[in-house]
Symmetry: C2
Subunit: 374 residues, 2 copies
Amino acid sequence: MNRLLNNNKLKEFYMQMYNFNSGPSILPEYVLRKAAEAITDFKKTGLSILEIGHRTTAFIDTLQEARQLAKELMQLGPDYEVLYLQGGATTQFMQVPMNLLGASDTAAYCDNGIWGTKAIKEAEIWGNVNVVSSTKDKNYSYIEKVFAIPDAVNYLHITTNNTVEGTQWHTIPGTGQTPLVADMSSDIFSRPLDFSRFSLMYAGAQKNAGAAGTTLVIVNKNILGRINRNIPPIMDYRKHIEADSLLNTAPVFAVYVSYLTLKWIKEEGGLEEMWKRTKQRAELMYAALDSLDIFTPIAAKEDRSLMNVTFTIENKNWEDEFLELCKEHGMIGVKGYRTVGGLRVSLYNAMPVSSVVKFTELMSMFNDRKKKAN
Amino acid sequence: MNRLLNNNKLKEFYMQMYNFNSGPSILPEYVLRKAAEAITDFKKTGLSILEIGHRTTAFIDTLQEARQLAKELMQLGPDYEVLYLQGGATTQFMQVPMNLLGASDTAAYCDNGIWGTKAIKEAEIWGNVNVVSSTKDKNYSYIEKVFAIPDAVNYLHITTNNTVEGTQWHTIPGTGQTPLVADMSSDIFSRPLDFSRFSLMYAGAQKNAGAAGTTLVIVNKNILGRINRNIPPIMDYRKHIEADSLLNTAPVFAVYVSYLTLKWIKEEGGLEEMWKRTKQRAELMYAALDSLDIFTPIAAKEDRSLMNVTFTIENKNWEDEFLELCKEHGMIGVKGYRTVGGLRVSLYNAMPVSSVVKFTELMSMFNDRKKKAN
């Protein structure tokens, strides 16, 4: 967080920034430093990473290392392939059913928030969707964990963490023989899970896996090729797998930033260490929310997201006032999403625990001020 | 080209590099310097461009300026919209017919090279394709300029410059009332044209419009919405236009690099100045090829590409020897594409004329050496 203050020349111009944005979001200083270096010279090639061919050994090595790192962090076996694609999770909302859902087949979807709803709408273009669970009745403030999955659906789709609403699946639903597909955009690499229980996982890189501009798709090869559709090659996971994730020009720089981010995660101690920090940050935030009178968390207690914390303040004017105070302290990205309102802080892997402490101190100070004045 | 030699600390490690790659390819030093700066601090926000939200004013301003710059450089009126999308020209091979070609409609395509062929294959998934011209008979070494366009085709598709084969359309074909669609990936922004004669133009950014990771689509709004297809929203140009090219998370950094590249083009003198340099570089290269005995250009004289120059050397062993010599002189990206063979140099906007002079000097020296030895 403090990177700019380390530079004396810049010290006079900048305050310390605390980036609580929901994505694109904070990245480790290591990643930013190495990324900037690569723009001047990538791997001592004498060329910028922005000028280097996607079929050069220097880049291919990086791409393949990144794919391998993802598998290693998730402890996945040889059935799984990691692809670096483009177009964000939004494109996956289309690409998943294009590959897995025949025109007369049915897929099961859980509707737990704005992104799940979008995924459902896109899937309906390609086949039938059975919404097996929806928590729209309470503005998606909770997760329904018990529901029936009909036989003969091609897959069940969930959003493991709801960025906007601030809820998260804390246990993976059992799906028996039904392949489980998950949008993990906002909690990938934040915790160890038995990832082999998922058949397909995808995530826009711009939260815990890098910067905006590439999308990770991690797929069990065995679920591909089961439907009858003339899939456009550029949308066909199998074509991307055959091409070792280099079917067409890769988003070279975005892949490199993701590689650096995964390398950082590994060197810091992998998902076990990320998980430790995830819990520390979230516990600090929820403890403050639960103990300070004027603050109220939005999500149901047992489904609280450890990545995106949504909450309200006793009255709307105080919310605006608190947002102003945050800004004065360099704390940005605190405003809630319009469908939910209130406030939200995002606590991704790169967020130091010390920044959360600072934030909760500000909450506490504001709470005291309001209590005294009233 | 000489940027690394300007840095004393690096001087001892690096030689000057001449990047003749076909894409991703050379970028102006101005672009690299500003891009590296933005990784440390974007527009004095105190945040890295890799961490900044795509819906912040700082980024939206950049995106809208980039879109405006593209229109300005191409002198396009209010009917045109510029979109920054993802997935490369390869994704456009699918997206164009998805938006413009109904299942029972027909589109006309010119098959002038490997990329045109790919575009045809993807279009066939969505409707009927009438290949109105093909130059496959001579391995795509020329452009057929006279051909009939059937009535009632939805559009005619051409590739304005064939990166692999080294041919280029030097006049825009007349299409009457038929909308003209063009893949301009490898010659966009290299010359002034009456761009209003095109209804849709697209280009992967990684040659003349930036780095890999974003794709420019420039479309006349009036040709949209004419077919009956339930287009997936993420693939629907109209949805992207309505959202001012921010339908989902943009590839923030790639858009910024494209913005810098367009700004550089404008400040250097716009497309008139780029055109002057384009001609200078190409004239130097072709003059050398035409005058040196052992070198032979591949493309038909009147269709020679001014961006990608393809040629052979009298015998295959000499080609390998010349490639080695190039490498020793820091001249990279000179090997031809496997379907064409021989050699290729790419001469994009950022390539200094002086680098082409250096290259032709090497050709001349090699020619003399071989002539003397034989």
